[in-house]
Each structure stands twice: as C-alpha cells, then as structure tokens.
C-alpha cells in the first residue's frame, strides 16, 4: 500500500431534501428535488470514490469503504 492515509467507515457527506433533520460537522448538501438529490449524490460519490447509502426517504450519506 502507498503511504496515503484513507479515512474509511466514516460519513464524508450528506445530501438531503430535509436539511432540518440533519446536522453536524460533515458537509451537508441541500437538494432541491428528488432528481437533484440523486444526481448530487452520484457526482459526489464518483469524485470521492465513496458509496451512496440511503438513510431514509430523501436523505443520502456517502461513506468510504
């Protein structure tokens, strides 16, 4: 393995339609619609290499595994 440190099993971003229901120190992205929620989640996951999980209807979080 290279010397890079990779933080895994940690939430790296949250994308949500319900900003009032999430909070904390991770980046939180507010989506306008279900379609933009889906799209933002996909973009962030592809860039970070993280995986998109659904927490509840309208809230996705991204985790590096």
């Amino acid at each position: 393995m290279s010397g890079n440190v990779r933080v895994t099993k940690q939430i790296i971003a949250i994308i949500t339609l319900h900003p009032e229901r999430v909070g904390g120190s991770v980046p939180i992205f507010h989506a306008r619609s279900a379609a933009s929620l889906e799209e933002m989640a996909r973009y962030i996951s592809r860039v970070t290499g993280g995986m998109v999980h659904e927490l509840e209807e309208g809230t996705y979080f991204i985790v590096l595994h």
Binding site: M1, S2, E38, M51, H53, E54
Partner: protein, 301 residues
C-alpha cells in the same frame, strides 16, 4: 554408465512433471512467459536434485545426499517469492484475492517443486532397481513410473472445491428499501436509484449453502469468502469502473444457516457460468475447519 542415463532421465521426467503441474489457469498468476521460465528453471533444479540423490547414495557420496536437505531451504524461497509478488499485485486488483488465497497459492507453488524432486527420485529409483532387465525395458519402466507418479501426485494434491462442500443455487436479487438482498440474505445498502436499477436488470445472485457443519465453518472464513468473490469476478468479469464501489461484489453470510449470499453484475451474464465458477473455487487450506472431528463439535451437531 547407468548414471549417465538415470540422472538425465530423472531430471527430464521431473521437469516435465513440473511443466504438467504448471498449467495456465485463469486464477493462478503465471500467465506470462517470465512466470513460466522462473518456475520451469526452479523445477529443473529440483528435478536434478531428486535425480542425483540415489546415484549419490550408491556411490557412497553421502555429502551429496545431504545437499538435498540444504536444497529444500532453497525452495522455501519460492513460497516467499510467490507471496511477495501476489501481495505486491494486490492493490492493483479490482477485487482482491485476500491474504488467505495468496498464502494458499504460494504453498502450492512450493509444494510443486517438492513433487518434482519426488518424481525425479522415483524415476531414478525405477531405473536403478531394474538393472537386470534389458536397457529398453528399464527405460520404459522408469518413464512409466514417472508418468504415473506425476499424475497421481498431482491428483492427490488437488484439494477440494466449493462444489464438494456446498450446494450452489441461483438467488433472486431484490430490494427492500435501499437494502440489496439475494433471496433472504441482506447484502448492502445501495442509495442510488440508478445503481439499484442496474442490479435489478443485470445483476446475478447465488446462494452457497454448506452441506455439513464442517463446510459451514469453512465457508465462514472471510478469507474463503474473499477467494470466492475474487474467482467469480476473474472468471465472469465485472461491469464496473474504479470509483464505483456499489458494484463491487460482497459476500454476506446468513448467520443462522451459514449460507453465503453473493450478488454481482458480471460483464458477461450467465447464471450457469457463475454457478460453475463458484463450484470450482478451491477450498483454501487455511480456511478448512473440521469441528466434527472434535468431540465437542460432534456433541453440538
């Protein structure tokens, strides 16, 4: 004069035996000429050592015979070499082999050199022991012994496969909310609709159910599960790119029955091929558990 035939013959048969055991396999790594050369030349040296052992003893040259023991250390290096190579390659694999699988492969490579020694030794014994026969017959007997021993040793060395210890049947992929399932085994949480759709249209699932408690304990080893996933991905190919972790196949275990559920999106979809590939995954030496051989294990069963 005898030695002039016995030693080259033994060496040749031993090297051929090594070549026979070095079949290119989609799972094993010497799939390029360099790998062949490395293993054939080591096999040649091993065979030579085996072939000279008996003539050396007959000549009362005990020093030469003790060198055989020294040479064995040399072949331990082979295991180390294989292990290092495969471990170095590991980060470049889309689906990793896992250390248990690598250890198994490395051991096989070391063992095959000893088999080459053994075949060469048997050939030279066969030749020397038939001194009363006609020259042609001695030759035939020695070659026959070589072929037979190479074949049977290779057969003995072949371990079990997953198909021997477990039943493999297709599983149905479904989603329970975001949870991907194969039959009733939950695999993972997939958020994106697009990814779920891809699993539903192109995905294939299998359920690997152990046949007995021994098999159940063996299948529970994470190393064994990783080996299954690696082999399946190597054989069927994966429809994914780097940075799409949700398409990486994950094995999950049903804690109750010990069955392994696995979903993947192969690049060449065929459920029969997937089942056949799973059947042919070797049972790793390091993963074998035999609780039934213990008294307590029998009481549980």
């Amino acid at each position: 004069m005898d030695y002039l035939i016995c030693v080259p013959l033994g060496t040749l048969m031993g090297t051929l035996a090594r070549l026979y055991m070095l079949r290119i396999d989609y799972r094993q790594y010497p799939s390029y000429p360099q790998g062949y050369i490395i293993h054939l030349s080591l096999g040649f040296i091993a065979a030579f050592l085996g072939a000279v052992a008996l003539p050396a003893l007959l000549n009362q040259d005990f020093t030469a015979a003790t060198f055989l023991a020294l040479a064995a250390t040399q072949f331990r290096e082979v295991r180390d070499m294989e292990r290092k190579t495969l471990l170095n390659l590991e980060p470049t694999e889309l689906v990793q082999r896992g250390t248990a699988y690598i250890e198994g492969i490395a051991r096989v490579f070391e063992a095959r050199n000893y088999l080459a020694i053994f075949v060469a030794l048997l050939v030279s014994i066969g030749y020397m022991a038939t001194a009363s026969l006609h020259e042609g017959w001695r030759f035939m007997v020695a070659v026959g012994i070589g072929l037979l021993s190479a074949y049977s040793l290779n057969k003995l060395m072949r371990g079990k496969h997953i198909g021997d210890i477990a039943d493999i049947k297709p599983g149905i992929i479904s989603f329970d909310g975001p949870l991907l399932r194969v039959d009733h085994i939950v695999i993972m949480n997939i958020g994106l609709q697009e990814s779920r759709q891809r699993y539903l249209t192109h995905g294939q699932g299998v359920i690997i159910s152990p046949k007995d408690p021994n098999a159940k304990a063996t299948l529970a080893s994470p190393g064994q599960m990783q080996a299954i996933v690696h082999d399946l991905s190597a054989v069927l190919g994966l429809r994914l790119d780097i940075g799409e972790p949700e398409y990486l196949p994950l094995p999950r275990r049903d804690a109750q029955t010990g069955a392994i559920g696995l979903a993947m999106i192969p690049s060449s979809p065929s459920i029969e091929a997937m089942i056949e590939a799973a059947r042919r995954v070797p049972v790793l030496e390091a993963s074998v558990r035999k609780p039934l051989d213990a008294k307590a294990g029998l009481m549980v069963d």
